[in-house]
């Protein structure tokens, strides 16, 4: 397709961001661009960045929607801090995103969108394309709307439809810049628009025209080449964290033989899990969209009692509403997976932004002494694995498990090496056998303190459970003071004993050194990258990233002792750090926090680590 040989610039990694009005089709352009990157073997991570409103007023900052793609020929850990190529379809999107563009970044704009009104609406005093404020960038000014309409004039398309495909023109320009093959996208159109064949041709023509235009104007003198990444052999796919979570739950259900029940209520950014599971009735998944968050979890508790692998999915405010019911599941000692896709809080907070501020709520947010297992995923890809493990631990230990992910993991996508179900760890729930003369509701396995799961309908196991305190072993209602002490200790002991069944905490780097960087959950990519950078510079820094929060891995305390300083990095005001301090009161534990609804940037982390290393 390339007529002239262009010089090639090899890049190990590139960050591209598509921004425009919501409704400009930026999510689709971004997804298609990343799919093509995946096909040529790049590793990648993507993140959609959209407003809470479905369609905010046109051409306003509030209405800007974006999609970021980080692709590389080496392992990609984050969705990227600063952007190499910014596609800005209108003045508002340019204004909102210019701060993320590297100096010298390539910026592609649709000059047709930069009329006086739109410029003013975006809050610019002068046209940024003309006032010289973009001189330090490589700006490609293309009349994209006009050219799109022009390219379709032989097809007799109405203006509106023509304008709507301008995102494909911009994508065509990017394909030229990155020397991508157009054929996979053509194929994609053929699949996507099977029922509307006219759209296949429109999109093909516009994509090709964008490519041709870029070639004609020689949009960039050179090709940006990102080669294939060295990846473990296997079959791959792209996956978002929320899809991964949904699939992990389905996998655990299949492995355990317990049918999946999901009782949930829509809430950003967790809704995709509910929608995804609703698609998979062929796997027996029973998905109940409840009338509220409380009914979501309570239906799940009912289903759990009836023998299902029961789940409920939510985000922070929803977790608050579920608190009392989590207590019921703790008291009745029933398995239950509660997925909290965290977002900015408190209250409604920042629904589409990410935070790690629900940790206290997950650990402590209930009445009474009410411990649960808490697990956190750290990448979009491993949401699958940790959802699976949350379900496994919950069923095998007959207690609720809260899985913490967050909006970034949930919405973001990474490449996912497809596992085989045969290789997934076994799940063996402690099912009570029919007519077992020894069966008692609260009789326990002495090794892990777990009671048996006796399912209604089974002969010879009729029993009653409930939220009132129960007599140990027999399970009848009891207000005996000593019994309450025993049961309280047993419920706590049972969760503590989970530590015998989870892996020890790993350290990335040396087991001793000047600084141990501790993190948990969705900050893995940024913190890992920052620590690697420091280690390359020869600094004695190691990284411990936690997935198992309650209980902590058994070696946690010993591990912390190997370092002069410890810094716990999290996107809250210091919840994990205080939890660690409570468990391991050590004076050298410091913290680094950010609560802006934004992920950590690698350089802000390295700055902090360097500062800690320099301080005496």
């Amino acid at each position: 397709m390339t007529k002239k040989k262009r010089p090639v610039i090899e890049r190990e990694e590139v960050v591209v961001k598509f921004v425009g009005d919501s409704g400009d089709g930026m999510q689709l352009s971004g997804t298609m661009f990343s799919d093509v990157a995946a096909l040529v073997g790049n590793d990648l991570a993507t993140f959609p960045d959209f407003p809470a409103e479905i369609r905010a007023p046109q051409n306003t900052i509030a209405g800007v929607s974006g999609f970021q793609v980080h692709m590389g020929s080496s392992k990609i850990f984050t969705t990227g801090d600063m952007v190499d190529v910014l596609v800005a379809m209108n003045p508002a999107s340019l204004r909102a995103n210019l701060k993320w563009a590297k100096k010298g970044a390539t910026i592609l704009t649709d000059t047709d969108a930069f009329d006086d009104k739109a410029i003013e609406k975006a809050g610019y005093k002068k046209d940024p394309l003309k006032d010289g404020s973009l001189e330090s960038y490589n700006v490609i000014k293309a009349p994209i709307t006009t050219l799109t309409k022009e390219s379709l004039k032989d097809l007799n398309i109405d203006n509106k439809t023509a304008e709507r495909s301008k995102n494909m023109f911009a994508l065509g320009i990017l394909y030229y810049i990155f020397n991508r093959d157009l054929k996979p996208s053509f194929h994609y159109f053929e699949q996507k628009f099977k029922k509307k064949p006219e759209l296949i041709q429109i999109n093909k023509v516009v994509l090709q025209s964008g490519y041709n235009y870029a070639e004609t104007i020689e949009a960039l003198e050179s090709v940006i080449q990102v080669g294939p990444a060295k990846m473990e052999k296997g079959r791959y796919r792209n996956i978002t964290g929320n899809t991964g979570t949904a699939w992990g739950l389905l996998a655990a259900s299949e492995k355990s033989g317990r049918p999946l029940f999901l009782g949930s209520y829509p809430i950003t950014p967790a809704t995709e899990i509910l929608m995804e599971l609703a698609k998979h009735k062929s796997l027996g998944a029973k998905v109940f969209q409840a009338e509220d968050e409380i009914a979501g979890i309570c239906s799940a508790i009912g289903a759990s009692y009836a023998g299902s692998m029961a789940c409920t999915t939510t985000s922070g405010p929803g977790l608050s509403l579920k608190s009392e019911a989590i207590g019921l599941a703790v008291m009745t000692e029933l398995p239950l997976v509660i997925v909290d896709v965290q977002r900015g809080g408190p209250s409604t907070g920042l629904p589409t932004k990410s935070e790690q501020s629900d940790l206290y709520q997950a650990l402590f947010g209930r009445n009474g002494e009410c411990p649960v297992i808490v697990v956190a995923a750290s990448t979009s890809e491993n949401c699958f694995y940790y959802a699976y493990m949350a379900a496994k631990l919950s069923m095998e230990h007959m207690t609720p498990c809260i899985l913490l992910t967050d909006g970034y993991l949930g919405f973001g996508s990474t490449l996912f090496r497809i596992p085989k179900m045969a290789d997934m760890p076994p799940i063996n729930p402690p099912m009570a056998q029919a007519n077992d003369p020894e069966y008692k509701p609260y009789k326990r396995n002495p090794e892990n303190l777990v009671r048996q799961w006796a399912i209604p309908g089974t002969e010879g196991l009729r029993h009653r459970i409930g939220g009132l305190e129960k007599e140990n072993i027999m399970g009848t209602v009891s207000t005996d003071p000593m019994n309450h002490q025993i049961m309280t200790d047993l419920r706590a002991g049972k969760v503590d004993k989970v530590a015998d069944y989870i892996p020890e905490q790993e350290i990335d780097g040396d087991p001793t050194g000047d600084l141990l960087v501790v993190s948990w959950g969705g900050t893995y990519g940024a913190v890992h990258s920052a620590v690697q950078q420091m280690r390359k510079e020869g600094k004695r820094v190691s990284h411990a990233h936690f997935h198992y929060i309650m209980p902590l891995p058994k070696n946690t305390g010993d591990m912390l002792k190997g370092f002069k300083k410890i810094v716990v990095c999290e996107l809250n005001s210091g919840q994990f750090v205080n939890y660690l301090r409570m468990k391991f009161p050590m004076p050298n534990i410091t913290q680094f926090n950010k609560v802006q609804g934004l992920p950590f940037m690698i350089n802000e982390l390295t700055d902090k680590f360097n500062q800690l290393l320099e301080e005496k």
Binding site: R235, L250, G302, R462, I465, G466
Partner: protein
């Protein structure tokens, strides 16, 4: 649309009351109406004939909600107001269970009002025994959503200033398919209504006018009391005219758009003019009127007021799963993981 009519497995032997008696001490106050309800349940369960392991009783919080502990079946004593949601989960997870819910006017109409209307709207096949004693008993005497306006209680020393719910009206408003009203002093009527509820596919509400002997004693006496009940209670039977009075001399007719009480033999009224009860009518119009009327101008209607056939939520869940299993290419999680756009590296 075809429905999978799930049937609950029947017991191979004839069960009796003792099969359902639990070994727990029943801790309701002596003289509480709940004792009679328990007796009715222990009587009706063997009559229904399901395996004893296939009964599951779910409750919320309140005096009524201690019920699961007193019946030897599977059971969950839940949290306040949420019994409807818990029951829904039990039934969807295992439609082969006969799920019964014990709840009260506070549990289901105040804190659990949302779940109550939605379980009815969905028509999940659950039998709900609503103990309506018009008071909060377990917390010792505060007014509830069914306490008559003006009633003096511990939280309304000058009388309540709230309009009470009429349970039947709420049920019809939520598109209920089954509604029966029974007094706690008539075990036969209770047992019959519970049996009808068990037969009905869908959410069945049996409102039991229950006496709280401590905090709202004789609250229902103006209607269900021995001295007055002939004049104040109209017990409907399907296919029979709606008559009441000591000698069945009174009846209901529909005049214009309203029910009217008439005397048979006066003004040319004969038994043929009296409305005949059709509990199976899909149209809830008359059922709603029957549920709503009350003394002094009307009798209060008891018995099975509505029992209309509509598809149940749990049947439709099974139907959709069956269809998906027959038609989907994704038969296991390996299929799912490898579906769509994947590639080899």
């Amino acid at each position: 649309m075809d429905y999978v009519n799930m049937t609950v497995e029947r017991s191979k032997v004839q069960l009796t009351k003792t099969d359902f008696e639990s070994d727990q001490m029943v801790k309701w106050c002596p003289g509480c109406g709940a004792h009679a309800i328990l007796a009715a349940v222990e009587r009706v369960f063997p009559k229904i004939g399901y395996r004893k392991e296939n009964f599951c009783i779910v409750s919320g919080i309140g005096c009524s909600s201690r019920f699961p502990y007193y019946v030897n079946t599977y059971g969950i004593h839940g949290i306040h107001g949420r019994a409807a949601a818990i029951s829904t989960g039990v039934k969807i997870a295992n439609p082969r269970l006969s799920v019964w819910m014990a709840t009260g006017d506070g549990d289901s109409l105040a804190i659990g009002g949302n779940h109550f209307i939605h379980i009815i709207r969905r028509n999940v096949d659950i039998n709900i025994l609503l103990f309506n004693n018009q008071i909060y008993g377990l917390t010792k005497g505060q007014y509830s959503p069914t306490t008559p306006m003006g009633k003096v209680t511990k939280t309304s020393p000058q009388g309540t200033i709230e309009h009470p719910f009429t349970v039947g009206e709420l049920v019809m408003g939520a598109q209920g398919t089954f509604f029966a009203r029974v007094p706690d002093n008539n075990i036969n009527m209770m047992t019959e209504a519970m049996f009808e509820a068990a037969k009905h596919d869908g959410t069945s509400i049996v409102e039991i006018m229950q006496n709280c002997i401590i905090f709202a004693d004789k609250a229902h006496n103006e209607v269900t009391g021995k001295e007055v009940k002939d004049e104040t209670m109209l017990v409907v039977k399907n296919g029979e005219p709606m008559v009441f009075g000591k000698n069945h001399e009174k009846g209901l007719v529909l005049r214009d758009t309203r029910l009217e009480v008439v005397e048979i033999g006066k003004n040319g009224i004969t038994t043929d003019d009296i409305l005949v009860h059709d509990q199976y009518s899909q149209d809830p119009g008359i059922h709603l009127m029957l549920a709503k009327i009350a003394p002094p101008n009307y009798p209060m209607v008891f018995g099975v007021i509505r029992s209309a056939m509509f598809p149940t939520y749990d049947d439709m869940v099974e139907e959709q799963i069956k269809y998906a299993k027959e038609t989907s290419k994704i038969r296991n999680v390996d299929d799912l993981l490898n579906s769509g756009d994947t590639w080899e590296i």
